[in-house]
């Protein structure tokens, strides 16, 4: 076992930090306060991501034929840690490089790969994820948005809700029902968001401007070429995508960096000599570092070619705890910094922490998966 970075990995980390120093505007913290889904941050991502791509730092883990250089999952992760710690200047594009791109690469048609991957690799592609519906959140398999076949087209009707990044997105990774009920009746569509019949309404929320939306599909006609995989075959593909998504965001890294800032502030105020404060800071720190190690273990497994496992759910539970531990520490000892705009990072961290256990599958769904797939506890009987 080894818990240190190689010199090459350390050099990469420093390269990313230097790039951030160079590319982020002086008012970045205020700008990033609006959240990755905001107009401000999305627009910034469309200049930042091409700069990252030009340095070979956007999709290094992708194969060469799709603009990467076959770098290890660790490289992608180091870059992700640094960028998420800085407030995620990739905006919504982190989703492309964490899981949407890989999923299209693995399950998409040649035409879909040609259509979507080059734009993602160049850093000029914004996607949203059309999963949750008013009656299908945690119970995703009960979704009811329907894609009805009509010759060589599909006609989509239904609605999605709490959809991150939808207002600025150019494409939607959409789940819709083509068959009967349950997991076996779902298909995936890669839908251009400017298709007639799509309406996006922002939902005012606690988690940043423009972050979540309602998306309505009214007789939206898309050609069958937009379907990824076969009808009814979506569920394993979704599982693959989510296994990358669950640990793809280095939330603990942002939490750790915000915790460092909070402690610096307490030290400057002369409030860090209190052993109670020290103890609570240590508790939050332990939570961040535990989450980091559990996520690293998943990355290590991925690097060694092992299939996705319930370790990613264990890691996600720990990541959620870390986000909340730091948010609670801030509220306990620096409550005054959550009013006004003097400490924008505290505010944006707080907003991300309250969403951490809800977005990408609720914390309780992760606990279900840990119970079944990791501890192998018997499943709860379901109503017939």
């Amino acid at each position: 076992m080894e818990f240190d970075w190689s010199p090459e990995q350390q050099t990469l980390r420093e390269r990313v930090r230097a790039l951030l120093q160079r590319e982020l505007p002086p008012d970045w913290e205020v700008l990033s306060r609006h959240g990755p889904g905001s107009r401000q941050q999305t627009e910034f991502s469309l200049t930042f991501c091409p700069a990252l791509a030009a340095e070979g730092l956007l999709v290094p883990h992708w194969p060469r034929e799709w603009g990467g250089r076959d770098a290890s999952a660790w490289e992608h992760f180091i870059i992700g840690e640094e960028l998420w710690s800085a407030g995620e200047p990739r905006g919504a594009q982190y989703m492309n490089v964490n899981f949407i791109g890989q999923t299209i690469m693995r399950f998409g048609s040649d035409a879909q790969k040609m259509q979507h991957l080059p734009d993602m690799a160049a850093g000029r592609s914004i996607w949203c994820q059309g999963f949750s519906e008013p009656s299908a959140g945690s119970d995703l398999a009960s979704l009811s948005t329907r894609a009805q076949r009509n010759g060589t087209d599909y006609v989509i009707n239904g609605s999605k809700v709490w959809t991150s990044y939808a207002a600025m997105a150019r494409h939607c990774f959409l789940l819709a029902r083509t068959g009967g009920p349950g997991k076996g009746g779902i298909a995936i569509f890669l839908v251009p968001m400017d298709t007639p019949g799509i309406t996006v309404r922002p939902i005012p929320s606690l988690i940043g401007t423009g972050d979540i939306h309602e998306v309505f599909f009214d007789d939206v006609v898309v050609p069958e070429e937009t379907r990824m995989g076969e009808e009814g075959q979506a569920w394993p593909i979704i599982g693959y995508a989510l296994s990358h998504e669950r640990v793809g965001i280095a939330r603990y890294a942002f939490s750790r960096s915000v915790l460092d800032r909070m402690v610096s502030l307490l030290q400057a105020r002369g409030q860090f000599d209190d052993p109670v404060v020290q103890s609570q800071a240590g508790k939050a720190l332990a939570s961040c570092e535990a989450a980091r190690l559990l996520v690293y273990r998943v990355v290590d497994q991925r690097t060694n070619g092992l299939p996705p496992s319930a370790d990613s759910n264990v890691a996600r539970v720990a990541v959620i705890a870390a986000d909340n531990a730091v948010a609670d520490f801030g509220l306990n000892y620096l409550a005054d910094t959550f009013s006004g705009l003097d400490h924008p990072l505290h505010l944006s961290h707080h907003e991300r922490a309250i969403a951490a256990g809800i977005a990408s599958g609720a914390a309780e769904i992760q606990l279900n998966l840990v119970a079944h797939e990791y501890l192998h506890l018997p499943r709860e009987a379901r109503p017939a």
Binding site: Q278, L285, L293
Partner: protein, 320 residues
């Protein structure tokens, strides 16, 4: 970054496991603890206590060994013999008992051959003679003993003892032992709720239990990886984090494990109490989780005082 043990570490842990397996089925004596001199002797005879100083094995092998052996219902003194004795006082024989500050009661004292007393001044050692300590009944699942008053001349100073390293190693040992105990406890509870049926279905199929057990699993795995990292890096801050986290989660996990074992967990015939009542004592070592976390915070974010060349709290007193 590599989370897989090396071939040498795997071979070593295989040897540890073979000894553990031989002792796993020792019949339980129906008491609150069961010290196994045979296990202690087997480990010693096999030379396993020397792993920390072997370059190819190191701290990870030492911590994994403590974790593996703490999962047995019977106990032996492993943490001090593996993580402390070989570098602090290799000439003094184990098993060891450790006394910190003003304490007079210690685990393993009735079975130990050497007592190490640690305070801010340093480390004193005592070659234990019959009658130096009195076994005492205890709720904790260790052989507990009380030290009698002894003349100063009975003690010998461990010259040049590195107190910072001692704290670091002991914290790793405490964290590893807690992890081992709770891994074993969790496994036994998962087995119990999988087979025990109530209301016409396995207890473990109720979500109320599943979520809490899933949280327990996450907490124990978190502690385990913090411990292995601390064992590998040898950094004081990593050790404080690992010990703090393990001590912090131990009470919650032990509580849940007993809840889900129900009345069976109140009996002495089931070994759950052996594991949980070790962690209840381990959770207080070195002042408990709050002190470890505070130490970790000072190590992560040292406060520099302009009139001092050394960082505040850099060197811990023994009772920190």
């Amino acid at each position: 970054m590599n989370f897989e043990p090396t071939e040498d570490q795997n071979a070593f842990l295989g040897a540890v496991q073979r000894i553990a397996d031989r002792h796993r089925s020792q019949s339980l004596n129906g008491e609150r603890f069961q010290y196994s001199p045979m296990l202690q002797a087997d480990l010693s005879d096999a030379g396993l206590f020397d792993c920390l100083g072997v370059e190819e094995l190191g701290g990870v092998a030492a911590a994994e060994m403590v974790i593996a052996l703490s999962q047995l219902p019977v106990c032996a003194e492993v943490a001090a013999s593996t993580l402390v004795g070989p570098w602090l006082c290799p000439e003094l024989p184990g098993p060891y008992a450790m006394l910190w500050g003003a304490e007079r009661t210690a685990r393993f004292l009735p079975e130990a051959r050497t007592l190490l007393h640690v305070d801010a001044e340093g480390v004193q050692a005592l070659a234990l003679q019959p009658g130096d300590s009195t076994p005492v009944d205890s709720i904790f699942a260790y052989p507990m003993g009380v030290l009698r008053e002894l003349p100063d001349a009975a003690w010998m100073s461990v010259v040049g003892a590195d107190l910072a390293r001692l704290h670091q190693c002991w914290r790793v040992g405490v964290a590893a032992e807690i992890c081992g105990c709770l891994l074993a406890g969790l496994k036994s509870v998962v087995e119990h709720v999988t087979h025990r049926r109530q209301f016409g279905r396995p207890l473990g199929s109720f979500q109320a239990l599943q979520h809490r057990l899933a949280e327990c699993a996450t907490l124990v795995q978190s502690a385990r990886w913090l411990t292995l990292k601390a064992a590998e890096t040898g950094h004081a801050g990593d050790a404080s984090l690992a010990a703090g986290y393990a001590q912090d989660m131990a009470r919650k996990v032990a509580y849940d494990l007993h809840q889900f074992m129900g009345a069976m967990g109140l009996t002495l015939e089931h070994p759950l109490h052996r594991w949980t009542y070790r962690t209840k004592l381990l959770s207080n070592d070195l002042g408990g989780w709050q002190r470890q976390y505070a130490a970790a915070a000072r190590q992560a974010w040292p406060t520099r005082h302009p009139d001092k060349t050394q960082t505040h709290h850099d060197i811990e007193g023994a009772t920190a």
